[in-house]
């Protein structure tokens, strides 16, 4: 790839980021005009507490999409993990220190399994992760059909804890996104995710361990889902097999809104971060002005189409 095309690509991505950032500012200003409670620290704090679940799942989705795949199992995985956490902690509230690593390890393992299946069986990731989603969801339902379990106070505090007045979840989210961004830009392995997403065959010919990178991307997606599930369980206090159902498709929206293209190889975590902010803020604003959730669906669909329309380069 020549330096010039690289430069054009980067500029295009910057343009995508700029568009989303401008939309964010417009939205914030509109929110300030429409409701005097919208731009208060209190509401912004609330926003950030909600942000972490969608944010983490979308971050995981970003790795996979950049690598040229898609992970449709994250929703079921988050649901299964909340059920595991709430039931485990109901049984032994004193073992929080054990439950959290267990959940993260299990989540990473499921993600890695997704990656392994696409690599070993050479099956389209859509099919593999859909199938896995069905298996995980069915398995969770066989264990527990209704929401249940409980969490100890110390664990619930994770969701509401503050570090120097800033919600812990916000600090964690920003820190992880920053790390992820640095990792993707500055390390060999991180950059190879872009290579594999851009042209898998070329990456292979260049001697990159393509299969390992694919598995790594899916494992990271699983890990991110695990972190999301921890904060979600802490906030709701129960395990609910269905809680993640909508999350799968929701996690794709911020990724594409942020300018990462579904074909892989182009985009980045900054775009996803802006995308998550935009989606969450828009929903919050629509709630403030009492737009029914039904119309919020319509708007979400339109946003996907418009975002993709803006970011997708014209063919030929």
């Amino acid at each position: 790839m020549s330096a010039i095309t690289m430069d054009l690509r980067r500029n295009r991505l910057m343009l995508s980021y700029l568009i989303v950032a401008v939309l964010l500012v417009l939205l914030a200003v509109a929110g300030g005009f429409l409701s005097d409670r919208f731009l208060t620290w209190r509401n912004i704090g609330n926003l950030f507490q909600q942000l972490i679940v969608l944010g983490m799942v979308s971050l995981g989705q970003t790795f996979v999409v950049l690598m040229g795949g898609i992970d449709l199992a994250v929703g079921s995985l988050v649901g299964a993990l909340t059920v595991f956490l709430a039931n485990f902690l109901e049984w032994r509230p004193d073992l929080v220190w054990l439950a959290l690593p267990l959940a993260l390890v299990a989540a990473t393992a499921v993600g890695a399994l997704n990656g392994l299946l696409t690599v070993v069986l050479r099956v389209h990731p859509l099919i593999v992760t859909l199938g896995m989603s069905s298996i995980i969801f069915g398995g969770t339902l066989m264990y527990r059909k209704e929401p249940g379990g409980s969490v100890p106070r110390a664990f619930a505090d994770i969701a509401y804890a503050k570090v120097g007045g800033i919600p812990l979840s916000a600090v964690v989210l920003v820190a992880i996104f920053a790390l992820a961004g640095l990792w993707l830009q500055r390390t060999r392995t991180g950059r190879s995710i872009y290579f594999v997403g851009g042209d898998r065959e070329a990456a292979r010919l260049n001697g990159l361990p393509v299969d390992r990178i694919v598995v790594l991307a899916y494992a990271l997606s699983g890990l991110c889902a695990g972190i999301a599930a921890i904060f979600l369980t802490a906030r709701t206090g129960v395990g609910d097999p269905r809680i993640g159902a909508a999350l799968t498709l929701q996690s794709v929206t911020p990724v594409v809104v942020g300018g990462t293209i579904l074909a892989g190889g182009r985009g980045g975590v900054l775009g996803t971060f802006l995308g998550v902010l935009l989606v969450t803020m828009l929903n919050s604003l629509l709630n403030f002005v009492n737009v029914s959730s039904y119309y919020q669906w319509v708007i979400q669909g339109l946003i996907i189409i418009i975002a993709v329309g803006i970011h997708t380069p014209r063919r030929r």
Binding site: H124, L130, G138
Partner: protein, 322 residues
């Protein structure tokens, strides 16, 4: 490049593997039915078989359409949402006599065609990935539907709708007759007509198709319209079967239809597949579901088995990464 009026090239060599690939699904289905018959004496009773087929018919209609879209390297996630929206539209007439049925069908097909047109336009003209275009359509239809109904179920339906869905003519379920009619009609379109050959060409190599004077965009859009119309008709038949319209009629059909098509050997990479094999995939799926019930397993087991089978089937057909 062969001119368009010559038949599709077929591989002439008959190896064991190719025979297995072509008839493997039939063997699998027969094996599955044998297991079912051995496991439960209820399975082979005509009442149960007819019941299974009646449940399968609306799904079969959706799968016919899904096949067209997958053949041109797409997929349609909006089919289930469209089925429910069509069902809500049917009740919006608040008709209590059968005279309204033709109107309902015309309105449903018109709405479906518009939805398919938008999907196809987004994919072909705007270069939006099929996944995102139809995902967005799924959410938008869902929003519009709920905004209209407020989330409440409705049940004002002409009595004839119920007959269409579960009635019989000479002992054969009406919806099966309809499915057979649709399958033969669209089967002829796909496997015997010029349009069908163009669909296969566009699916296997859009550039080559373009150089041969085929307009890929037009073909792709047409496939999405066909898919939506099939889903819309399937929605009406499912509605008649269920009787009342919850806002989620057809939920899960988007995945089931893709599963069935993939199991029937329709390649997600486009350009390879057969409507009738896809329908065999439907048969396998419903027999599995029925088997789980007859064996008294918890119904959640269907989800697990379905998941394993879709991955296994796709691996079997070696659906390569797109």
């Amino acid at each position: 490049m062969a001119p368009l009026d010559t038949p599709m090239p077929r591989s002439q060599s008959i190896s064991l593997a190719s025979v297995f690939e072509r008839y493997g699904l039939v063997v699998f289905l027969v094996a599955l039915m044998t297991v079912a018959a051995l496991a439960s004496p209820t399975f082979l009773r005509p009442a149960n078989l007819v019941n299974v087929l009646t449940i399968a018919a609306p799904l079969g209609m959706v799968v016919i359409g899904q096949t067209f879209v997958i053949l041109v390297r797409g997929l349609d996630l909006s089919v289930a949402s469209l089925m429910a929206t069509v069902a809500v539209l049917a009740t919006a007439f608040k008709a209590t006599t059968n005279e309204a049925i033709p109107m309902i069908f015309i309105a449903a097909i018109a709405l479906s065609a518009v939805v398919g047109l938008v999907n196809g336009w987004l994919v072909a003209k705007r270069n939006v990935s099929p996944f995102l275009a139809t995902l967005a359509m799924m959410i938008i239809l869902q929003g519009i539907r709920f905004a209209y109904t407020g989330g409440a179920p409705i049940s004002t339906l002409p009595p004839g709708m119920g007959f269409l869905a579960s009635g019989r003519i000479f002992g054969v379920p009406v919806n099966l007759i309809t499915l057979a009619f649709l399958a033969i009609a669209f089967g002829i379109v796909l496997h015997r007509s010029r349009l069908g050959r163009e669909i296969f060409m566009v699916g296997s190599n859009p550039k080559a198709a373009f150089l041969n004077g085929v307009a890929p965009d037009r073909v792709v859009i047409l496939c999405y319209v066909i898919c939506s119309v099939c889903a819309g008709i399937g929605g009406l038949f499912l509605l008649g079967y269920v009787g009342t319209v919850s806002n989620w009629v057809g939920q899960g059909y988007e995945l089931d239809s893709i599963v069935a098509a993939v199991m029937g050997g329709v390649a997600l990479t486009g350009g390879r597949g057969n409507v009738f094999a896809a329908l065999l995939g439907v048969a396998v799926l419903v027999v599995i579901n029925n088997l789980v019930l007859l064996l008294g397993f918890p119904i959640e087991m269907q989800l697990i088995i379905k998941g394993v089978i879709i991955i296994g089937a796709a691996a079997f057909y070696r659906t390569r990464l797109a």
